[in-house]
Structure formats: C-alpha cells, structure tokens
Amino acid sequence: MSTSAESAAAAPGHLPGDLAMWFFMLAELSVFALLILAFAVTQAIKPQMFSDSRLLLDTSTGLAMTLGLLTAGLFAALALEQVRHSRPRRGAALLLGALLAASVYVVLKLSEYRHLLASGLGLEHNTFFTLYWILTGFHFLHVLLGMVILGWLAERCRRGGFDADKRSGLESGVLYWHMVDLVWVVLFPLVYVLD
C-alpha cells in the first residue's frame, strides 16, 4: 500500500488521495451495493407493495436533498482546486460552504423522518419501509461522518495545514464526500422514483 505524504504531485495515472481511503471506500461501496441489491430483489418480488409505498414518499423533498448534497460536492471539489493553486483560505471558505449545503440535506432528511414516523410509517410498517429506513439511515450516518470530515478539513485548511504540495489528506477527505454523494445519487431514483 502506498503512503500518502509523498504522493503530492498529481502525476497522470496516479490515484489522488490515499490508497487506504480507496480501499476503505471500496468496502463501503460493497455494503451499499449489497443493500441496493437487496432492495432491488425485494422490489422484483413485491412490486405492488413497493409502488404503493413509494407514493407515500415526497419526491420533491428527495430532489431538494439531492441538490443539497451535489452542491456540497461541488463546493468540496472547488475547495480542493483552490488548495491546488495554493489558496488554502479560499479553500477553507468553500469547505464551510459545502458544510452548509450538506446541512440542507440533514434538515430535510430529519423533517422527512419525523413526518414518516408521525404517519406511522416506521421501520416495521412493511418490507419497503424496513429497507427504506435501513438504506437511507445508513446513508444518513455516512453524511454525518462526511460532514465531520469536511469540518475538520475546513479547520485544517484555515490553519494552513494543506497546500499545493501537501494535500493528500484533503484529497482523501473530499473523495469520501464524493462517495457519499455518489451513493445518494443512486439511492434517490431507486428509493423515491423508479417504479
């Protein structure tokens, strides 16, 4: 496994960030892949239940959440670009922007959860909702972890902990956030839209 510190120069064909992070993301994506597979197979077995239950979800809220996450991803990518050009202060500001956009998702998700619980559509309501809660709940925890990482990156960036030659940690953190984004981009149509 390569070590991070010396991989600063982004040579073509060289993975950004730390190889350990890629390995970790591979493990994470495997869990999500299993969850998605379980969801898809169950939908194929119980199509009626899934399409009836899906009507109880609000697609526009789902879309707003998606936009929140993608905006956060954009800000995080721009932050990395700023650091690559030795402007860590701007990078820190953009990372805070990413954090703000991510909190839009958190607020919307929590209000959706509260609404569903108030309507009695909890974990044990039916198989669709069991899987809905497991999938989105597990992803929600990842968003929270991703936000902790973004916050930590912003703070380190502000203190000048990263620069153009020393940014492997930042790349790894931003990579993790993109993974969280990517998973949601698959989850949103799968859970809210596709019938």
């Binding site: 496994m1 730390d18 350990a20 493990a27 299993l34 974990l123 069991t130």
Partner: protein, 473 residues
C-alpha cells in the same frame, strides 16, 4: 526474572513467558477434552458418569477462552513495553496477577469436574448474584469477579506503561481491544429472567468479543510481528491496520444482528444482520493481503521461518474459518435452516483456531526464542518440528471443519429440510461415519500439538543458519 537476557529489549518483557507457558498447558487440556467429546459423539456413554458430555463441553470451551486470554495478556506484556519503548510499569503486579488468574482458572475447572454444576452454583453462592448457566459464561460469579479484578490490574499495568511511553498505533489498537474485552465482559453479570433479553446481553459478550474487539487484538499482534520479522516501514503497516480495524468494527458491530434472527427481535434484524455480516469476511481478506504483501516487501530475511509461517497461516485460516465459513450460514434465509447445527460447530472450530489460537501461536513463535534466551529463532531442528506442528494442526483442523460441514449439511437435510423431518437423535445416528472421521482428524490435531510442544525442547544457544540474502520480490 532474567535480567541478563540479552535478547529482550526490556527485562520486564520476561513476564510474558509464564503467561505463554500456562496458555499452552491449557491448550493441551482443551484438546484432550475435545478428544473425549469426539469419542462421546460416537460412544455415547464413554467416561459416563465421571465426565458427562455437557461437562466435557464446558471444560473444552472454557479452557479455550482462558488460554486465549492468557495468550493475549502475555502478548500485551511482551509487545507493549517494546512499543512504548520503556519497561513495564510493574512486573511484580503482572506476576501476582498471573498466579491469581491461574489459580482461579484451575479451581474453576476442578469445580466443573469434581462437583455437579448445580452443586458448584450452591457452593459459590450463585444465588447472591446469579450469573451461571449460560453457554461459555458458565464460570461461577466469584470467578467472573476474579476475571474482572485481573483484567483491571492488567489494564492498569499496560495502560500506565503506555501513558508514560511512546504511543504507537499498534499499542493503541491493542489497548483499545483489551479495554473492549474487559468492558464487554461486564454484560456477563447481567442475567435477565426474560430469555429473549438474556440472549441480547449474552451475544454482546460472545459476539462483540470474537467478531469485534478481539479482531483489534489480532490485528495489532499481527502488525507487531510483521514489523519485527519483515522490517517494513511502520507507517505502511499502520495504515493497513487502520483500514482493517475500521472494517472489522463496522461489519462486526452491526453484524451482531445475525444473532438476533430467531431470538424474538424485530424483523428488521433479518436484513441488517444478513447484509452487514455478509461483509465480515472483508477485514479478514484485508489481513491476508496485509500479511502476504508485507512478507513480499520484506527488507530482511528473518531467521525465524516458523513465525513467518504462523503469521501468514493465521490470516488465511482466519479468512476461511471466520470469513468464508461464517458467510456460509450468515444470510437469514440460509440460517433459518442451519442455525445451531454441526455447521455452526464447523465454523466455530476453524474460526477460533485460525483467528485466535494461531495468532497467539504466531506471537509465541516470535517471542519465545527471545524469552528463553535462545536468540531470534530456535535451531533448525526445533523450527522443523514447529513447522510440522503447524501443518499437522492446521490440516487436521481443516479436516475437522470439512467433516463437520458435511455432518451439518446432512443434519440440515434430515432434521429440517425433508418433508418428514427426523428428531435430533435420529439424525445423529446417520452422522456416525462423519463423527468417526472427525475423531480421526482430532487425533491428527493432537499429534500436531505434541510436535509443536516438543519444538520447545531445545536448550542453550541456537545454531543459526547463515541468514540468507533478501530475495527481491
């Protein structure tokens, strides 16, 4: 304690030796009771009523847990001073605790063997704080309290050493694992009357030990030995260790759900348990890749060939035993038919041997020549014997696993799958051939263990081969 041992970085590391020696004595006892039970499977009244099956089973499993605990403690006493780069906080405390733990362990086993279990419960006043009667946690309450006292003293000793010295990833992971081991054991003191609730607390000891914090202990012991025998950069090893423990904890902790399938828990656990525990082979696969890539990248040819073999062997056997054999029956629709059959026994045997017995023997293999003042490695003859022991034990355990897997498959069919299922004892009659074969493999294992123990016979300085040059990979 040998102050004059030039092969130890710190004299206080010598306290590990009695722990390792006693661990191996208990291991021998465990295997003997395994053989007794293996015979009782085919000759039902063998040694009855002196050693009934349930008592033999209790002794077999309890000895396993206790010898592994001795092994982990010995490993910690050996590696923490070296990692912290200072003497152990109190070698005297380590020796006192050794005798306390050994005496408590021996008395408890004698109690199992000499007094009927209900009598042991009366004798130890179980009624004051009832904790007895649960599988693997059969120890009298007073023994459990002794274990807690020993663990606290041990953690204090190791913790003080660590706090005063250098803090490395290896020692911090080891410490986290050991603290987790002590904390989760506390659930064994809570024994609710409701059977479903009781099962939750029981699994929080059993599962969170072997599929949670013990994996941290295993990872750090493996990392320590690999750093020592390969000379690969600590930074590289530590990064692997982080990835491994992150995966072990995530899959292991949520994977506890695979024990909640049929104990009265909500249906959601069928999903959570199946999906997350299906990922549990991953950290073990990472350990295989870790060990093999480190050995491949080695900067020196360590003279202790046996230790290198154990380090590689433990990861592969753990991957198959814990990972693959665990996955075989972890999905809820499969587990519906297989839970509590011989398939569970197959998984238990290869997993415990591969992950925990072998990692303890890896560390013993690395540390014992130094602890005994022989140098970096034993002589050629003792290493050959040890390697014979490795292969005999490992292949026999693979054979035991395969016979038990076959027995499990037949049992599932006869007892749970076919339209008119047979009762338990009816199925057992059909499994006799497989149980005889398993007993034969058990004898092979015993022979391997004897080889392994005989490899410690060497006395005096080792006659080392000239170290071979590093093989470019």
């Amino acid at each position: 304690m040998s102050m004059a041992n030039p092969h130890l970085k710190f004299a206080s590391q010598a306290v590990a030796k009695p722990y390792f020696v006693f661990a191996l004595m208990l291991f021998l006892g465990q295997v003997l009771f395994g053989l007794i039970m293996g015979l009782q499977y085919v000759i039902g009244d063998f040694l009855f009523p002196v050693i009934p099956f349930n008592v033999a089973r209790m002794v077999h499993t309890n000895l396993l847990i206790v010898w592994l605990l001795f092994g982990f403690m010995g490993a910690a006493y050996y590696l923490v001073p070296e990692e912290a780069d200072r003497e152990l906080h109190s070698p005297k405390l380590a020796i006192v605790l050794f005798w306390v733990f050994a005496a408590a362990g021996v008395l408890t086993i004698l109690g199992y063997l000499l007094v009927p279990y209900a009598g042991l419960a009366r004798l130890t006043h179980n009624e004051l704080l009832p904790t007895m009667g649960r599988e693997f946690l059969e120890q009298p309450t007073i023994t459990k309290m002794g274990i807690v006292v020993v663990c606290l003293g041990f953690l204090y000793n190791i913790g003080m050493t660590l706090l005063k010295g250098r803090k490395t990833t290896v020692s911090m992971v080891m410490m986290t694992g050991l603290i987790g081991l002590a904390v989760f054991f506390l659930f064994s003191f809570y024994n609710p009357g409701n059977l479903a609730r009781d099962k939750f607390y029981w699994w929080w000891v059993v599962h969170l030990w072997v599929e949670g914090v013990w994996e941290l202990i295993m990872g750090s012991m493996l990392a320590f030995v690999l750093i020592k025998i390969t000379g690969v950069d600590r930074e590289v090893v530590e990064k692997w260790l982080y990835v491994i423990i992150a995966m072990a904890l995530i899959t292991g902790i949520i994977g506890t759900g695979h024990h909640f399938f049929w104990i009265g828990a909500p249906e959601v656990w069928l999903w959570v348990g199946s999906i997350f525990s299906a990922m549990e082979p991953l950290p073990f696969l990472a350990m295989v890749m870790f060990a093999f890539s480190m050995v491949k990248k080695r900067r020196r040819q360590h003279p202790n060939r046996a230790a290198t073999l154990w380090a590689k062997g433990t990861t592969v056997t753990a991957f198959f035993g814990a990972g693959v054999w665990g996955f075989l029956h972890t999905l809820a629709p499969v587990n519906f038919y297989t839970h509590g059959t011989q398939l569970t026994a197959a998984h238990g045997h290869l997993a415990f041997y591969g992950a925990y017995a072998m990692i303890v023997m890896t560390l013993i293999s690395y540390a014992m020549p130094r602890l005994r003042g022989l140098g970096e490695a034993g002589d050629e003859r003792s290493q050959s014997l040890e390697i014979w022991g490795f292969w005999l034990m490992t292949l026999s355990m693979v054979a035991i696993t395969l016979f038990l897997t076959a027995a499990g498959a037949v049992q599932v069919y006869l007892q749970r799958w076919q339209v008119e299922p047979l009762p338990f004892m009816g199925t057992v009659e059909h499994l006799q051939v497989l149980f005889w074969a398993r007993l034969g493999a058990g004898l092979g294992f015993f022979a391997g263990l004897l080889c392994y123990l005989l490899s410690f016979r060497q006395r005096g300085r080792a006659a080392l081969r000239a170290p071979a040059p590093v093989v470019p990979s």
